[in-house]
């Protein structure tokens, strides 16, 4: 499913215009982006939570050429799936 398919599905489910559904989808993901850009935590109950993790730089090798390269430190968002979604993708039961 792509963003435009999500917009169509939302418009249909809620009986709203495509334009209104597009606004809703954009507001949602822009809000989430803004939080992650500020390194704020983000939690959607039943869906999951995100937090930005810092990864230290390290010396690595280009796997193709074996050349030594410096991998710079970086920040990446880490997604932790929520309980409800975790159970639902597994057919409704938690496997833990």
């Amino acid at each position: 499913m792509t963003k435009s398919q999500l917009i169509e599905a939302l418009a249909k489910a809620e009986g709203i215009t495509l334009k209104a559904a597009e606004t809703a989808v954009n507001v949602t993901f822009q809000s989430m982006e803004q939080a992650l850009i500020k390194s704020d935590r983000l939690e959607i109950r039943g869906f999951g939570s995100f937090k930005v993790k810092n990864y230290e730089g390290y010396k690595g090798r280009n796997p193709k050429t074996g050349e030594l390269i410096e991998v710079e430190s970086k920040k990446l968002p880490f997604f932790k799936v929520g309980k409800e979604l975790k159970e639902r993708v597994n057919g409704g039961t938690s496997q833990d």
């Binding site: 499913m1 792509t2 809000s31 869906f47 995100f50």
Partner: protein, 95 residues
């Protein structure tokens, strides 16, 4: 600060298109559609944000980290998120 669904509802309400109740309902439905899609095993790709996918994990031997007892972990599905390149760059600006 932690961003929650309530903040997203506020941001949608601020667009002056929907009432507060409608905004809450729409955001609820939006995440429900994403969850339903992942439930069927289909990926959800939001350009500029990232991709949610469902990955199948095989059965494997594990250990109870508290007692050290060996246990068999059943095959399961996990939801993973891959950040888009655009978002990744924006997160790393002024790192």
């Amino acid at each position: 600060m932690t961003l929650t669904k309530a903040h997203i509802v506020e941001n949608l309400f601020a667009k002056n298109i929907f009432t507060k109740t409608e905004s809450a309902q729409i955001i609820e439905t939006l995440f429900e559609i994403v969850k339903q899609t992942l439930e069927t095993g289909e990926d959800v790709l939001i350009s500029g944000f990232g991709k949610f996918s469902v990955k199948e994990k095989n059965q494997r031997r594990g250990r109870n980290p508290q007692t050290g007892d060996p246990i068999m972990l059943s095959p399961r599905k996990v939801v993973t998120f891959k950040c888009s390149g655009v978002l990744r760059e924006r997160i790393n600006v002024g790192k």
